[in-house]
Subunit: 233 residues, 2 copies
Amino acid sequence: MHEWYGVYFPELGDFAVDAEYARLVSELGDRQAIMDHLGVSLESVGTDLVERDLEVIRGLGGTLSELYRRKEALDAYILEGMDRVAPNLSALLNPNLAARLISLAGGLQRLAKLPSSTVQLLGAEKALFLHLRSGKRPPKHGVIFQHPWVNRSPYWQRGKVARSLGGKISIAAKVDAYRGEFIADVLKEQMERRVAEIKEKYPDPPRREQRPQGRPQYQRHGQGRKQGQNRWR
Amino acid sequence: MHEWYGVYFPELGDFAVDAEYARLVSELGDRQAIMDHLGVSLESVGTDLVERDLEVIRGLGGTLSELYRRKEALDAYILEGMDRVAPNLSALLNPNLAARLISLAGGLQRLAKLPSSTVQLLGAEKALFLHLRSGKRPPKHGVIFQHPWVNRSPYWQRGKVARSLGGKISIAAKVDAYRGEFIADVLKEQMERRVAEIKEKYPDPPRREQRPQGRPQYQRHGQGRKQGQNRWR
């Protein structure tokens, strides 16, 4: 959309993005009309388009707007359902991620019965079995990687954060499965404290295993494994 | 969509697919209403849904229908444009694939000037440079693989078909770029004949290089290369 409409009006990207961009293109379309609407005035460097081309681009903008609206409606629906079914899990993480975990586990009851080390890796089955089969490094997190607590932490802290979060998720799931009271606030606070603790205790990247940052490291069988390290196959 | 609505009415998949499926769900939604509309009567094994769930699924069906409609409109637009700009190329292949090639080449004029061996590999640049760098096998086709002439042929004929098709594309592009007459019929006929010829001449898979069918083969450097085979780096 951006690339296509940008031929005609490249400057619009500075004033609107995503849903707003799509809405402006589909509803107004004309460069001048959009500038009037936004209250800006500039000499666009874009080229003119014939009416037929603009019409097709506007249609695409309309479809995109529809997709954004649909996403909002589905998010609201999930929020609503999760608030009813698993309020603690939903508040501890966020409704979408909580729903994802329940789906991966095959139901709230099942999620509540899983060990927290399994919860930690839900969604990383492929990496886990690759590890078990071929001795590659074990994964440190499954879909919970999506949570900022995990993905905003530097890589050497992530495993610890993920293990701790797996535990809290297990607790929240158990409470929700048996319709307990609302304790997500407490869990969240504990989690915050634990993240801060990890941050303080492990401020520096480990020296032993040097990883080129930014790029994943692919290891051959056996390489990089410490002597005597436990290896369950 | 299928998975979700299928909880409620799994049998619908036998009567409608894709766009029609999405349309029925969004416009009618109710199981009984759809059965009446289709003139079928059966005892569904699906479970009932609360009104709120059905409503959300119908909304999703509406968005899907919108996407199908948009795809049709874009296809029509491309067809229209290609008929005007590159009638031969468009008729030889199909409008979408022809547009893709022009886009990869950076314009019809540029496409017309490329050697046909380059045309044959447009869109396979990654595989080509991997070949040049590391001695992996060279790719036999780029995006033209999408054409049934190529992808419907057995693997040992594909390279020959692709080379021939690359040549015909070059001719069509040159004629279109210089606004020549319509010769796509002739090109198509020649191509059909050449494909039949290849089929007749090479009916059997080669014996020398045995490939496990169905799975791509990853070769290490040097392996599988015949003695004295030309190797340009």
